[in-house]
Symmetry: C2
Subunit: 331 residues, 2 copies
């Protein structure tokens, strides 16, 4: 990938639509030169706003599509911006399902300008089907009551916390943003359905007995569109431990208002039941809250109430200590 | 498709490996001219054994790959047989994941001989993601304690039983064999994982209030490789009713000896819990047993014991009446 990136925000109206851009900004800030929004965009990364020509002048290597819409397709309204990126001499980097080469004229324009089209949401060829064979080493999977509420951030923060404790740990990316941050991984939602669990088995291979793979979760068992991806990832990951991610302000599944988010108790029960098919010892070991909208006092009360109800350590990966959950993982 | 078919059995050693061939023989017998086995094959359809040249002389239009191996890839050992089919002037029809055109030289040979390569395991382009929106009409989905134990046969037999009762009903094929029998459908396991539930929503669209779609199930929630496909199909189908398919002699998941088949009670609970995400009224309404290895007396005892334990009507779609389960669906 040719860095640094100009992060394209399109017309995103909610930060959850710009997950990729926020992930890059927060976990690979040295790779981000600025942001570029279209009229109507209501989201900011608090990076300098610039167009592709200005970014190129500041040394940008690529225009990176920072938006992750439901369905993962390139919107018609972005296409002129992609041509503008090429015009300015930038590579185009995309985590969409749509292949950049399928956008009429884009490949020719890139070739003429001598820049590359990079699709990171391409799974490896010849993935196997799952076997359920028990692998060596330890694994933690982040799971959620919904999509887009912190599974990737939690996995990245847990990996860092484990390494800070001297534990041999790797972050395993299962989505396009994680792959852009980590430099490798498998885009689980782009795998052909028959091979989902097999792909998850490949993502966290046999390892030394004390090694931890921290696997980025996808989707939610409670999402009417994506639960199948989630279940394949749960089964193939064979997690010893899971951390359940939750947004206390999310009353229903994102983009599916008829589907309420489950209680933590119900979610823990269903994730443990699902994971125990391939690892009878699988347990939820902590709750990761997105508390960005809460005061310190509200957060403390939420954590105390939840810990007392469920007996599990609570944390916010961006705001609070992760010592208790790491202790529990290693115990 | 150019009919009738010569059904290719390869080196199958168990009838469950030749699901496609058996399905065609049983549900589209007028389309089958004979069978062709390789040395080592231990399965017979009890059709006339013939090679492609002999089949062509009897009017065959296509060589149909009748084997459905785990992973759905074309085996190296079959490739000479595919060339022999082309040589004899037959089209090649495949339900494998491997595209026939990806086999080196096959497309050129087909072109030179003026025959076609037909891949039925290609999902439609531009499938949507699932929405969970409630659709009109009624739906039944067949589900299983494992793969390959009667979900397709049960769905076909239920469709016939409903039509015999004057009910407006359609069989909805979700796998390659069902598609070959029905002439349409979506190969669910070949869909990109993100679109599994969305594909299932497309498979049984809005219909008249009294219309029944009988959806062919796939995989099993208890299979370490395929449960994700199953869950996406369960969520997208929004079944009002499910029939649970079971083989009383199957002690463990096929090709996964460390995974015991679940009890009927556990399976009913987990399928109902999963289906109720998108249809709170979803219920298992009957048990479909594969009793091919049982005497009449053993079958009667199994059904009586199960009906008394679970309070659900039991049947074998190939051997016994389906009146009770159809009554329950329509009640």
């Amino acid at each position: 990938m040719r860095k640094p990136y100009l992060l394209f925000l399109g017309e995103a109206t909610h930060f959850s639509q710009a997950k990729t851009a926020f992930g890059l900004r927060d976990w690979a800030p040295e790779s981000c030169v600025g942001q570029w929004s279209l009229p109507g965009c209501a989201v900011t990364l608090e990076l300098a706003e610039m167009n592709p020509a200005q970014a190129a002048a500041k040394g940008a290597g690529s225009l990176l599509i920072g938006i992750a819409p439901v369905g993962g397709r390139v919107s018609e309204s972005w296409i002129p911006s992609l041509f503008a990126g090429i015009e300015a001499g930038l590579d185009i980097v995309s985590g969409m399902h749509t292949s950049l080469a399928d956008i009429p004229g884009l490949a020719d324009a890139a070739k003429a300008r001598g820049v590359r089209l990079v699709d990171v949401r391409r799974p490896p060829e010849n993935l196997p089907t799952g076997t359920g064979r028990k692998r060596s080493g330890k694994r933690l999977l982040t799971v959620g009551t919904d999509c887009a509420l912190g599974k990737k951030y939690t996995a990245l923060a847990l990996t860092k916390a484990l390494r800070d404790r001297g534990v041999d740990a790797d972050f395993r990316a299962s989505g396009q943003t994680g792959i852009l941050i980590a430099g490798s991984g498998i885009p689980m939602d782009a795998v052909v359905a028959d091979f989902t669990a097999g792909a998850a088995e490949c993502l966290s291979p046999d390892a030394a007995p004390a090694h931890w793979d921290i696997v980025e979760g996808q989707g939610s068992l409670f999402h009417p569109a994506y639960a199948g991806v989630t279940l394949g990832l749960v089964h193939g990951s064979q997690p010893d431990a899971m951390v359940l991610c939750h947004d206390p302000y999310r009353t229903h599944i994102i983009a599916a208002p008829d589907f309420p988010t489950p209680s933590l108790k119900v979610a823990i029960k269903q994730y443990e039941e699902a994971a125990q098919l391939t690892n009878p010892d699988a347990r939820v070991v902590g709750i990761s809250f997105n508390t960005s909208a809460l005061s310190d006092a509200e957060r403390s009360k939420l954590f105390a109430d939840t810990e007392s109800e469920l007996g599990l350590p609570c944390f916010d990966p961006l705001k609070t200590s992760m010592t208790a959950v790491v202790d529990r993982m290693l115990a």
